[in-house]
């Protein structure tokens, strides 16, 4: 079964710094929303830049719609919508002029759809982008990305800086977008509460490496945190411990199979675990 996006052992090293992407692999199926989580500098933007070909990878494969992207492949780019963090467009433009430009760039540009989004997001058509608030520029970028009817939507930290009301609106837009089974979204973010709600898959990246990629159901319902005493921890099987952290009075243990853990370790408290906690455990925890 084809995935809309596949990364296989993608690596990229920067000459000037130590940072590199190290064998990054994950797959995004059609019809799904994937949250791409990592702290600042973890490599989210670099990965997305590799996917979009604005930087060149050193090794590995990236397949979009089953094919590699080339600079000349315009048909593929028609089907990819992108929203970057911050100012996507020059501020001397206004939405109407932007639409004019976009219409010349994308064959699939639908001005009517763009206007619908403008109305829905309450964005003035003829005011310069310079006068827009941060939330408005974000919404404009999302409107522009959707108005050329892409199949894959990639957002790089596009919801940070939005107030909760706006984020709610946007999440609704995203869920609408994946009503089509061929549509998928890759959403890099460190606002994990948004992802807890709507993501189908989560991929964690840290220091250029993928530390976990799984379906949200697994993470929410099969992963858990055992909170136990030192003595109990010592008795645990290696296979039940994904990562652990010794605190002052307890040891937190991340496990990937709470059902099994519950039956094995009957007197240990096992909590459901949030994406944030998983991230912290994977990054700061120790492995056996």
């Amino acid at each position: 079964m084809e995935h809309i996006l596949e990364l296989k052992e993608v690596s990229k090293a920067y000459r000037k710094s130590d940072f590199k992407l190290d064998k990054v692999s994950f797959r995004l199926p059609y019809g799904a929303i994937m949250g791409f989580v990592g702290e600042n500098g973890a490599g989210k933007t670099t990965t997305i830049d590799c996917i979009l070909n604005t930087i060149r990878k050193d090794g590995g494969d990236i397949l979009l719609f089953g094919k590699e992207m080339t600079d000349e492949d315009k048909a593929m780019k028609e089907n990819i919508g992108i929203v970057y963090d911050g100012d996507n467009f020059p501020d001397y433009l206004n939405p109407m002029r932007l639409s004019d430009i976009m219409g010349g760039l994308y064959k699939q540009w639908d001005n009517g759809l763009f206007l619908d989004y403008l109305k829905r997001f309450n964005l003035p058509g003829k005011k310069k982008i310079k006068t827009f608030s941060r939330g408005m520029t974000m919404k404009l970028a999302i409107a522009a990305a959707l108005a050329h009817r892409p199949k894959l939507l990639i957002l790089d930290e596009a919801t940070s800086g939005l107030d909760p009301v706006m984020r709610d609106e946007i999440l609704e837009v995203f869920l609408e977008f994946v009503q089509e089974e061929e549509h998928s979204i890759l959403l890099s973010s460190h606002i994990t509460s948004d992802l807890e709600k709507i993501a189908d898959y989560i991929t964690f990246i840290h220091e250029g490496r993928i530390i976990l990629t799984a379906s949200k159901n697994e993470l929410a319902y099969e992963y858990g945190i055992m909170r136990c005493r030192e003595s109990q921890f010592k008795e645990m099987d290696k296979e039940d411990v994904v990562a652990f952290r010794k605190r002052d009075f307890q040891t937190d243990v991340l496990t990937a199979d709470t059902k099994r853990a519950r039956s094995k370790y009957r007197d240990v408290v096992i909590d459901r675990v949030s994406i944030d906690e998983i991230m912290v455990m994977l990054v700061k925890g120790e492995r056996i």
Binding site: G31, A32, I33, L171, E172, L175, E176, V178, Q179, E181, K197, I198, A199, D200, Y201, S215, K216, N217, A220, Y221
Partner: protein
């Protein structure tokens, strides 16, 4: 079809969906052959990820409450008294299990528990 989701409940969201739909089917609110909303449409209305609804529908199918065919969607399966009975039994088991756990931890004897159960059962008679 109204589904209420609680974010704070201990029960996983897909289980909340599953049990509410089962309830509606068993009570007759959802009739045999009636179509359920598509997974994606439901996901959008209750604001959860598609994969959550997918799991709920899979469980409903596994437990025999609905039938899903590719291309046509999901429908309420034929009313099956046995099935409903099984489901109710499963629920009772859940509660009993909880009671047993509490009893074990707080040193309430099995005899006492049986006594209580008999008392509650015969209350309405």
């Amino acid at each position: 079809m109204e589904i209420i989701i609680s974010n704070n409940a201990n029960k996983p969201i897909y289980e909340q969906i599953t049990s509410q739909i089962k309830e509606m089917i068993m009570s007759g609110e959802l009739k045999e052959g009636e179509s359920l909303p598509s997974m994606r449409a439901l996901a959008k209305s209750i604001r959860v990820s598609v994969i959550t609804v997918q799991k709920a529908y899979e469980d409903l199918q596994r437990d025999g409450f609905i039938e899903t065919t590719v291309g046509r969607g999901s429908f309420v399966a034929a009313a099956n008294k046995e099935l409903y009975q099984e489901e109710q039994q499963r629920r009772a088991e859940e509660h009993l299990q909880k009671a047993a756990e509490i009893a074990r931890v707080s040193n309430i004897s099995l005899e006492k528990l049986k006594e209580l159960l008999t008392m509650f059962y015969e209350e309405d008679e």
